[in-house]
């Protein structure tokens, strides 16, 4: 038996099984979903085993000519994580969890502050005067500056939205709406692309109808 042809048929069957959910929840969908959950958990399990445990930990801690001993601490923290599976000693899993949360908080604090706040503020500072890029650029600069400032006003909670401040907040929400519209359009594009990929598989790879 040719495994490739069998694979294509199997994949087609599974694809249709999941699509059948559109009609209603049914046994094919449930079976496909169950397989999906198992396969994807297994996939992650294996890749993490080979790439992280063998490819990194084992090489660094044991195989390397100059073993690094500190990674053993990481291993212990990791094993403590598995304590969660038990109700009795589950509390000890908080130690690795605290490590993860602390590391993430420390790193995010700097990452987001610099890249998403400071750099963005700095690059919003633009001239409202022609400096060689044409007046359309100036117009665009004005739009961006108004958009960012008014958007920030909308998310400002220490003052009532009234008077000039209220107007700014209103303009801010309009900008946010256009932004959401752009995301909306892009998300639709994305979702449709995903389905196109599946149809290409069904009617191209499997049924061989697509030129």
């Amino acid at each position: 038996m040719d495994w490739q042809i069998f694979g294509v048929w199997l994949a087609a069957f599974m694809t249709l099984g999941i699509i059948s959910f559109l009609y209603k929840d049914n046994v094919f969908y449930k079976a496909a979903e169950a397989i999906f959950i198992g396969i994807s958990a297994g996939y992650w399990f294996i890749v993490f085993f080979w790439d992280s445990m063998v490819g990194k930990f084992y090489v660094q801690a044991i195989e390397s000519p100059e073993p690094e001993h500190h990674v053993w601490v990481g291993l212990i923290l990791g094993i403590l994580m598995l304590a969660r599976l038990s109700n009795k000693v589950g509390w000890i899993a908080r130690w690795p969890l605290a490590f993860v949360v602390g590391a993430t908080a420390g790193l995010y604090m700097m990452m987001f502050f610099v890249s998403n706040a400071m750099v963005q503020v700095q690059s919003t500072i633009m001239p409202l005067w022609e400096t060689g890029d044409g007046w359309f650029t100036v117009f665009n600069n004005i739009v961006i500056i108004i958009g960012v400032t008014c958007g920030l006003v909308y998310f400002f909670f220490s003052k009532k939205h009234e008077g000039a401040f209220g107007v700014a907040a209103k303009i801010g929400i309009w900008f946010l709406m256009v932004t959401f519209g752009a995301s909306f359009g892009y998300t639709v594009m994305s979702r449709m692309s995903l389905m196109l990929g599946r149809l290409d598989f069904l009617f191209g790879t499997w049924l061989e109808m697509i030129p």
């Binding site: 599974m14 979903e33 700097m110 987001f112 958009g147």
Partner: protein
């Protein structure tokens, strides 16, 4: 003790990451690379925890003969199959041509892609039944969405084909994305960044403890 030790760990680790951003040398750079190595290993165990938990729940379901238990059995079997082939394959387990790769291409890819592809249909049906220009804001949203949806595919330029090239739909979409969208996203971004800074600060200082759970 059950509460204090995690708080100390969070504090020390968080502070090291912040300080090593400013002070580039020993001992902070050393600690930072240690912690980075540990994080990678703990991350792997977190995934295993998820997988083992799934096995635990599925097994319990089968043992207690709960509703839909045969599907749990299916989950366990498919988990075991891919894990066995993964271990068996050695370091080159996912090279093209291996059984693991076959499972990836024909089972995993088919299932995961189709699962998400269903959303295409839900978006369409919600477009018909739910997305309404019920006020000025929602109208603005939908109009911007139209510009982008038309401008990002050739059909937009076909519809506006009578206009000069630089006034066609795709240029309008470019403008919406690069100017209006950038402005709005930037405001959101700055807001989220400040929110993250204050949350992280609370976590590091131990003012925020909800991640530790109850008791």
């Amino acid at each position: 003790m059950r509460r204090e030790i995690p708080l100390v760990i969070t504090f020390v680790v968080g502070v090291v990451f912040v300080i090593s951003y400013f002070i580039p040398h020993y001992p902070f750079n050393e600690f930072e690379s240690w912690f980075t190595d540990w994080f990678s290993i703990v991350g792997a165990f977190a995934i295993w925890l998820g997988a083992l938990n799934l096995m635990k729940i599925s097994t319990l379901k089968i043992v207690k003969q709960k509703k839909d238990w045969p599907f749990s059995a299916l989950t366990i079997v498919s988990f075991l199959i891919i894990v066995i082939f993964g271990f068996y394959g050695g370091k080159g387990f996912r090279d093209p041509g291996t059984t693991f790769d076959w499972l990836y291409v024909y089972v995993y890819t088919a299932l995961s892609s189709t699962m998400f592809a269903l959303l295409a249909f839900f978006v369409a049906s919600a477009s018909y039944r739910a997305f309404r220009a019920r006020n000025f804001e929602a109208t603005l949203l939908l109009v911007a969405a139209f510009f982008v949806m038309l401008g990002r595919v050739p059909v937009g330029d076909m519809i506006t084909g009578f206009l000069p090239l630089e006034y066609q739909m795709s240029h309008w979409a470019n403008w919406v994305m690069n100017i209006l969208n950038t402005a709005g996203q930037r405001a959101i971004m700055i807001g989220i960044a400040l929110g993250l800074v204050s949350t992280s600060l609370r976590v590091i200082l131990g003012l925020e403890r909800s991640y530790l759970g109850g008791d």
